[in-house]
């Protein structure tokens, strides 16, 4: 294209059927990446293919179906080693000399263990349960459980529980909205998550950007995060919450801090994060007051002390090589919940090289941690939340059977409200109005519609999960937890099955 670098090759092309195009210019108005423009003299809408990110907003909005966004047909010479993505990234770096940024989750080809795991069902000798006729329990308690129950009798001779039960979260469905900060997302998305979590009796997580005051009434359904930048953390923030979460790492970028560009920090975000308008919000890679399990224990107990020991404290780590030993340390440091974030987990912005090649799959990490905690006899000290790449209710059930108490859904929640995985979150120009703070573009996400869609999603998953529990003859999700005998593997190696703790199909 004229005036543009000759090293930019398009990834998508927009095919416009001029027989159908009524030149309403909706696509021009909706494209936030300047890929579509209007030629007044020819009364025609045309496209700059090099700018198209493939978000398909124009295609969705076109009133006559005149637009098709397709993968670019032009090809580099066939090469089994150098992919078009490698070439384009390399050209870009040669041009700009910077880190390739991306958003979303890891989209490279790695084994998806969920898809190698199959569920058991009842036949003849053990009855299955029809969830439409019989009660089915999806309620989960998240937090520390006592080692034993001390039961005594009161003066009337009635039995009573003498053990003090530590604070637990009660989730009516073991699916919680993953931490995604205000700043990375806009307030409309936070409003939707909060409303949906309340409607479904589950929780949502603020992420590291604080909680907008408008959402304090949803505090009972809010998990608030305390991350390395400590943005928006103050006494009231902790007090309105249902639980607190110390974020150590993120599956999409383990060991990497966060960076919200100053341009995104508007008045409201500045107030919520407690930083000046227009300044970069930099989250350090480590917590500078946590260099050991003992340091972590100090922060966990500082948070508990600040909230009168009334709320559980969660610690979120990315799934990395030594995750089982780390999780054991976290449990011993006093955490009530451990969140494991697998390498498929999403992000608002990360170096692509980190997102694509750091961390391990959640399935293996979850199984390893659950097994380690059980071997050490401390599994009841903590609840486990699996995060990073939960796509459907089947993944939830498999995660629970592998040992999770609940799961986080981040990408799935964004998909529910319109995300098409174009992975341009880091630009702040999300055409679907999700990961943008531009006041005009953010209006595209109507919190009322988004909340309904999230609620529908959870309701659908709940029904499917009940069906799956029923066919396994189980009437409560808690009876499935860690029940790996109900899982079988297909196409996995012996080592992988050993780590997952499951048998091959047929065994």
């Amino acid at each position: 294209m004229l005036y543009e670098s000759i090293f930019v090759f398009p990834t998508f092309e927009v095919e416009r059927d001029y027989e159908k195009c009524i030149v309403c210019k909706t696509c021009v108005q909706q494209c936030t990446f300047n890929a579509t423009y209007y030629l007044p003299h020819r009364h025609k809408v045309v496209t700059r293919d090099t700018e198209c990110v493939g978000c398909r907003r124009c295609e969705a909005m076109c009133p006559t179906g005149a637009i098709k966004v397709r993968r670019y047909q032009g090809e580099f010479k066939e090469n089994a080693y150098w992919s078009p993505r490698d070439l384009k990234d390399l050209y870009k770096q040669a041009e700009q000399g910077g880190v390739i940024l991306t958003g979303g989750g890891n989209d490279r080809e790695y084994p998806i263990y969920w898809d190698h795991i199959l569920l058991d069902a009842c036949q003849v000798t053990n009855p299955s349960i029809d969830p439409l006729r019989e009660p089915m329990e999806l309620r989960t308690y998240l937090g520390r459980k006592p080692d034993k129950l001390d039961i005594g009798y009161n003066e009337k001779g009635e039995p009573e529980l003498r053990t003090k039960i530590p604070p637990n979260l009660v989730a009516d469905i073991p699916v919680i909205f993953a931490p995604m900060s205000y700043g990375a997302l806009n307030l409309n998305m936070h409003r939707a998550e909060a409303a949906a979590a309340k409607a479904m009796g589950t929780y949502w997580n603020t992420g590291e950007g604080g909680l907008h005051r408008e959402l304090y009434p949803y505090g009972d359904h809010t998990i608030v995060q305390v991350a390395s930048g400590r943005f928006g953390v103050h006494a009231e923030y902790l007090q309105v919450s249902a639980a607190m979460e110390i974020k150590i790492g993120q599956g999409a970028k383990p060991g990497i801090g966060g960076h919200l560009p100053g341009g995104k920090v508007d008045e409201e975000i500045s107030k919520t994060r407690m930083i000046p308008v227009g300044t970069d919000a930099l989250s350090p890679a480590p917590h500078h007051d946590i260099y050991s399990i003992e340091d972590l224990r100090q922060l966990i107990y500082a948070l508990k002390e600040a909230t009168n020991y009334e709320k559980p404290v969660s610690v979120k780590i990315a799934a990395v090589h030594n995750v089982a030993a780390i999780a054991s340390g976290i449990a011993r440091a006093g955490a009530d919940i451990i969140v494991l974030d697998g390498f498929r987990g999403g992000t608002g912005a990360s170096p692509a090289i980190v997102r694509d090649y750091v961390g391990i799959p959640i399935e293996l990490a979850l199984a390893a941690v659950d097994q380690r905690l059980r071997d050490e006899g401390i599994r009841n000290w903590v609840s486990l939340i699996a995060a990073g790449g939960i796509r459907n209710s089947g993944d939830v059930i498999k995660a629970v059977a592998l040992g999770a108490d609940a799961v986080y859904i981040g990408t799935a929640a964004l998909l529910a409200v319109g995300c098409t995985l174009c992975h341009k979150c880091y630009t702040g120009r999300c055409a679907w109005g999700i990961t943008t703070n531009d006041p005009f573009i953010a209006k595209r996400l109507n919190p009322e519609i988004a909340a309904e869609r999230l609620t529908n999603l959870l309701r659908a998953w709940a029904q499917e999960m009940k069906e799956m529990l029923g066919l396994m003859g189980i009437n409560a999700i808690e009876s499935l937890r860690g029940n790996r005998l109900r899982l079988r593997a297909v196409g996995l190696s012996k080592e992988e099955m050993d780590i997952l703790g499951i048998l091959p199909a047929g065994a």
Partner: protein, 166 residues
């Protein structure tokens, strides 16, 4: 106060993203063929009775408010504008002499001229007769337009005293 059926389209400014699909739908609904492609490419001169106003991050689709006491009806010199029994304010094109009094008297700027068979006529929202919900409301993908059919006074701002009392 006389109770009457209020039928009115309200724009919700916070939800309007300025896509102008309401304008497309309005033009299609008021075309001969009622097909988007034919209306725009064959019939020519597609005309929307609602207009999306935009300034910076603010946008909303504005059409006739169908006022209780419409200035346009009062101003009309030929009797072409009338309030119907169901509360709608309509233009009777055959009577309109295109004097423009309604256009200048409307505080919302919701009446414009449209050329019908080479003659200028006043044109304004008719709430889509024959449709249960007006076309603009049905076409809005973000619920930025709502159709209010409540009996009695429609959506109004809550008075300060009421908030205190309530």
């Amino acid at each position: 106060m006389v109770k009457q059926i209020r039928r009115r389209v309200y724009p919700i400014e916070e939800n309007c993203m300025g896509c102008r699909l309401c304008e497309v739908a309005c033009a299609v609904e008021h075309s001969k063929t009622k097909d988007p492609i034919s209306a725009f490419l064959e019939e020519g001169n597609p005309f929307s009775l609602t207009v999306v106003e935009m300034a910076g991050p603010v946008s909303f689709s504005l059409a006739c408010r169908h006022c209780d006491e419409p200035y346009c009806v009062e101003a009309c010199i030929s009797g072409a504008l009338r309030v119907e029994d169901d509360g709608r304010v309509l233009v009777y094109e055959e009577v309109c002499v295109a004097c423009g009094m309604c256009v200048v008297s409307c505080p919302w700027g919701a009446i414009r001229f449209r050329e019908v068979d080479g003659v200028k006529k006043a044109a304004k929202c008719d709430l889509c007769p024959g449709r249960e919900v007006p076309a603009c409301v049905a076409a809005c993908p973000n619920r930025a337009l709502i159709f209010d059919t409540a009996l009695g006074p429609g959506l109004e701002l809550v008075e300060e005293e009421e908030i205190i009392e309530g």
